[in-house]
């Protein structure tokens, strides 16, 4: 079939069915915008993991003379105990680096961080000396924690990851919710496209009947319908892509980034990487939905 003729048939079809076309565009746009939002949340979680896991460490606090509890019964950590703790940490295969933080160093950091009246009431002896451990793989913290936790002279092992994990759980929940709603919307979009194509096929049954009789091939009969659906799907995907870009530009960049500087945020490249998937999904979903519908309603 000639391209120009096909194009004119498709545009006539879209205009003749304009209300349904708009409905398809809107539904596809909403579902893909939510789908894109889900992908953005995932990218954000990945960005934050990269950022934070690079910085987090395991802190092994050792007993000072004021500490109580089973492992600190003997008072402040002795030199032998400290050596054993250090060797245990350094020999562990998952450990990348170990820093020692003395009571005096802890005191300095405390003074820097809390430059107030409270700081004046603290003496170095009240703080704990500690080892700061960086891991090869931040996900593999269990082994190190359990190897060190029971040693004499160790007061407490704090793994910063457990604090972050709760935050990532929330992000995962948000992502799952966005993708779940997107999925429901996509089902709605598929049904709507299917129904629209059925109506279009019905309203053009005279044309398609004549096409069958004069020996038009199946694809020649179905192509205009599939193209119409694909164009509506593409328009919806473009609307979704524009919404995603606008959301990033005017909410993430303008509002979230300046307000929450403690973490890094997804970059433009992360957002732009999502957009092609939206366009592909829009076209593929719409074309597939119409193709499957036509199999049933345009028999030869």
């Amino acid at each position: 079939m000639q391209v120009g003729y096909l194009a004119s048939e498709v545009s006539t079809g879209l205009r003749r069915n304009v209300t349904m076309t708009v409905a398809v565009v809107v539904t596809v746009a909403i579902s893909l915008a939510l789908f894109g939002a889900g992908l953005m949340v995932r990218a954000q979680a990945a960005t934050m993991k990269d950022y934070w896991y690079d910085k987090i460490e395991i802190s092994v606090f050792m007993c000072n003379e004021f500490d109580t509890g089973a492992q600190c019964a003997a008072g402040a950590v002795s030199d032998d105990q400290r050596l054993l703790i250090r060797d245990t940490i350094e020999d562990h295969p998952e450990v990348a680096e170990v820093f020692y933080e003395s009571q005096d160093r802890a005191y300095e950091l405390f003074q820097e961080r809390f430059d107030t009246a409270i700081a004046d009431t603290i003496t170095p002896e009240q703080l704990q000396e500690s080892f700061r451990v960086k891991l090869v793989d931040p996900e593999e913290f269990d082994g190190v924690v359990s190897a060190v936790a029971g040693l004499p002279g160790v007061h407490q092992v704090v793994d910063q990851r457990t604090l972050l994990d709760r935050f990532f759980q929330i992000l995962n929940g948000v992502q799952a919710a966005a993708l779940g709603v997107a999925l429901v919307q996509i089902v709605a979009a598929v049904l709507l496209i299917s129904n629209t194509i059925r109506l279009a096929a019905f309203s053009r049954r005279r044309e398609t009947g004549i096409m069958r009789l004069v020996g038009a091939s199946n694809w020649a009969i179905q192509l205009p319908f599939v193209l119409e659906a694909a164009i509506a799907g593409l328009l919806g995907a473009i609307v979704a892509a524009v919404s995603i870009v606008a959301f990033y530009r005017y909410f993430v960049v303008d509002v979230l980034k300046p307000s929450f500087q403690f973490t890094s945020w997804i970059a433009w490249s992360d957002v732009l990487a999502i957009l092609p998937w939206l366009l592909i999904a829009g076209v593929v979903i719409a074309a597939t939905a119409s193709f499957v519908t036509l199999r049933r309603y345009l028999r030869i």
Binding site: M1, I210, V214, G215, N218
Partner: protein, 229 residues
């Protein structure tokens, strides 16, 4: 050109088959009237030739192809050898005369140049030159049927199948349509025409095949519509 061998077509929930054990051969270039009361199986015969339906039993050969063995994706190729004319014309009301005829060429992928030469040619053949830009509702019934015939023959089919082509037309107009079909037949195209129109069958004196309740009851060369039975 068309051969039916012991063809039976039964529909579900119908007490008797629409066609029963029909054996019939239509040769190349023949002109055949298919007559019989409503429900005698004429339309079923035409649908089977087009492979819109498959027979319950028996073998059908059209233009050298065994329809029972024809893959479904090859059915469009078969239909390009067939031209179909209906009682109700079945023109596209939103397209001009020219576009209605060109439509049959466009949808099977003929080139623009082919269309530009062939469409005026058939419009002249059916006597509609100068009316290319009219819309179907601006034409008389006879003229609309001429457009439909032009569309049926524009792809140079081997066979033209006509289902009551004069059913909606007055006798004078009908004669004109029959002359046109006769002219098309004389160029070598096989014509099978289902009809109720007694006077036309009697005038034309061509082969008459009569069906009654799905059975072949008469096959007569140079026949008339009704035998005294």
């Amino acid at each position: 050109m068309i051969r039916f061998e012991a063809v039976t077509k039964a529909y579900p929930r119908q007490p008797r088959p629409a066609l029963a054990d029909l054996t019939l051969e239509v040769g190349r270039g023949e002109f055949v009237f298919l007559v019989g009361a409503s429900g005698s199986g004429k339309s079923t015969f035409l649908r089977l030739v087009l492979k819109e339906e498959d027979p319950t039993a028996g073998r059908i050969t059209v233009a050298g192809k065994d329809l029972g063995r024809l893959a479904s994706w090859k059915v469009p190729q078969l239909r390009r050898q067939l031209g179909m004319v209906f009682q109700d014309f079945r023109l596209l009301p939103t397209k001009t005369v020219y576009e209605n005829v060109a439509f049959a060429q466009r949808v099977i992928g003929r080139s623009r140049r082919d269309i530009r030469t062939r469409v005026p040619e058939v419009l002249e053949l059916v006597g509609l030159e100068g009316k290319e830009d009219r819309m179907p509702d601006e034409l008389s019934g006879g003229e609309q049927q001429r457009v439909a015939i032009a569309r049926a023959v524009v792809n140079k089919p081997l066979i033209v199948l006509a289902d009551e082509p004069t059913g909606n037309l007055d006798p004078t107009t009908s004669v004109g349509i029959m002359k046109l079909l006769d002219r098309i037949n004389r160029t070598g195209t096989t014509v099978v025409m289902a009809t109720h129109d007694q006077s036309i069958v009697d005038q034309m004196r061509r082969r008459v095949v009569e069906l009654d309740e799905g059975r072949l009851v008469r096959d007569q060369s140079r026949g008339v519509y009704g035998m005294a039975r």
